[in-house]
């Protein structure tokens, strides 16, 4: 127990040092698929955050009852329940957004960020640590999604959240809101993050 990170460390780790998208390369399906508009990306990050928080806390509460060979079943069951709740809530109160996100909300069930956090943190540490870990990781995920989405939306449509950013003469790079744009943006951003880390960390980076 002693050598596991504390709540604060967990929280900070989630944001950049162990950012789920840029460092762990987890949860790439929504990262690539729903980042063609910032609004969709934020909603997706919110839904993942909700599921992650609930799943982490529940897992942490029952961590002493878990049998090693049944733990994945329990994780999946918990995650699926909260994803369904999130999906229904979006369909009821954010109807247009749930139409936009379509199948990607149900797909959070197989988002590996959540099962990873249940396994790595929640099944070993107290609910408080698990909750801060969930918030940190969700923030990291949200930052990653928003950064990709903002770039794609600005370059692809010239506007951000309906606000015109580029000059009117900007030829919208339609490819940026299409799937290839996701790969291009993500690749370049990932490269940038790695480059910055490498420069900062010097020899420390593995």
């Amino acid at each position: 127990m002693a050598d596991l990170p504390t709540a604060t460390e967990r929280f900070i780790n989630g944001i950049l040092p162990e950012n789920p998208v840029y460092r762990q390369l987890l949860g790439l399906c929504p990262t690539l698929a729903v980042t063609n508009s910032l609004k969709a990306a934020i909603t997706m990050a919110g839904a993942v955050g909700f599921v992650l928080l609930c799943a982490n806390v529940i897992t942490s509460l029952i961590r002493n009852l878990l049998k090693p060979h049944l733990r994945i079943v329990v994780f999946t069951l918990t995650i699926a329940t909260f994803v369904t709740i999130a999906d229904r809530f979006l369909a009821a109160y954010l109807y247009q957004m749930s139409k936009t996100l379509g199948p990607y909300i149900p797909l959070i069930i197989v988002n590996c960020i959540i099962i990873c956090r249940c396994e790595v943190c929640a099944s070993k540490q107290s609910p408080l640590v698990a909750a801060t870990d969930a918030v940190g990781q969700s923030l990291g995920f949200g930052i990653a999604l928003s950064s990709i989405a903002a770039i794609r939306e600005i370059l692809g449509t010239g506007a951000l959240l309906g606000l015109r950013i580029m000059p009117a003469s900007w030829p919208d790079w339609v490819i940026m809101v299409l799937p290839p744009g996701a790969f291009l943006t993500f690749g370049l951003l990932l490269g940038t993050v790695n480059w910055i880390t490498a420069r900062r960390g010097g020899k420390k980076t593995a």
Binding site: N36, V74, L77, T81, I85, R88, Y95
Partner: protein, 229 residues
């Protein structure tokens, strides 16, 4: 004797312990199941309401066109909308259509039909506005679709949907890759011919299916296209 006892014990012990081990999974499954049922009970009607609201909201513009619908809304007038279910017998199965009958001061102004079919990515749900005599399409709205963003999902744009307004409904619509010029021809969305074709095919099928039930039904007493404006 002793060994046998041991064997029985371990066999029985294993069996029961398998069940015992799964107790957490079972308890959680029941607990989660109950809470999901609760959520569905609470939110199900809201979600259905959202869909119905969207449908009803769209009926005036689908039947009357954007301009007239906006004018009516401005004058605080509303259409009476009567929902009904139409069953069409198909080989091997029955197909159900939700049809909304739009009347203004008793006169039949048109129909709005909800229909769905397979698109490129997933099911597409459409609302189709038809003139009372089923000679003309008066409007098209996409209620639900999961087509490719940037390509197929352009079927939801006004520009593309407006091609269907005033298109003839008494013959099949044809999708043309570029430069539709004659009535009954529809320009495909660039890069999304499949989505375009599925929408058009759904419309053709729906109109074909409903021609008989709607034009011979009891509520088409005020038949005739004179009240089309």
């Amino acid at each position: 004797m002793n060994v046998d006892d041991e064997k029985n014990k371990s066999a029985g012990g294993l069996k029961s312990s398998n069940l015992v081990q799964a107790w957490l999974v079972l308890v959680l499954a029941v607990g989660f199941g109950v809470s999901l049922a609760g959520v569905q009970l609470m939110l199900g009607p809201v979600i259905e309401g959202n869909k119905l609201n969207e449908t009803l909201e769209k009926v005036p513009e689908l039947v009357l066109g954007n301009l007239l619908a906006a004018k009516m809304a401005g004058e605080n007038q509303t259409l009476e909308i009567v929902p009904r279910q139409v069953t069409v017998e198909k080989p091997g199965r029955n197909k159900f259509y939700s049809v909304y009958e739009a009347r203004y001061q008793g006169d039949l102004k048109g129909w709005v039909v909800k229909t769905k079919g397979q698109g490129y990515a997933d099911t597409i749900e459409l609302l189709l506005g038809l003139s009372p005599d089923l000679h003309t399409i008066t409007g098209l709205f996409v209620l639900d679709q999961k087509e490719t963003p940037g390509l197929g999902n352009k079927i939801i744009t006004d520009a593309w949907r407006s091609q269907f307004v005033d298109a003839p409904a008494d013959r099949s619509l044809v999708v043309i890759k570029t430069g539709a010029s004659r009535p009954g021809e529809i320009d495909a969305v660039t890069g999304a011919t499949i989505s375009s074709k599925s929408v058009t095919a759904m419309i053709n099928t729906t109109v074909g299916d409903l021609r008989k039930p709607l034009t011979t039904g009891p509520s088409s007493a005020g038949k005739g296209g004179k009240n089309n404006g």
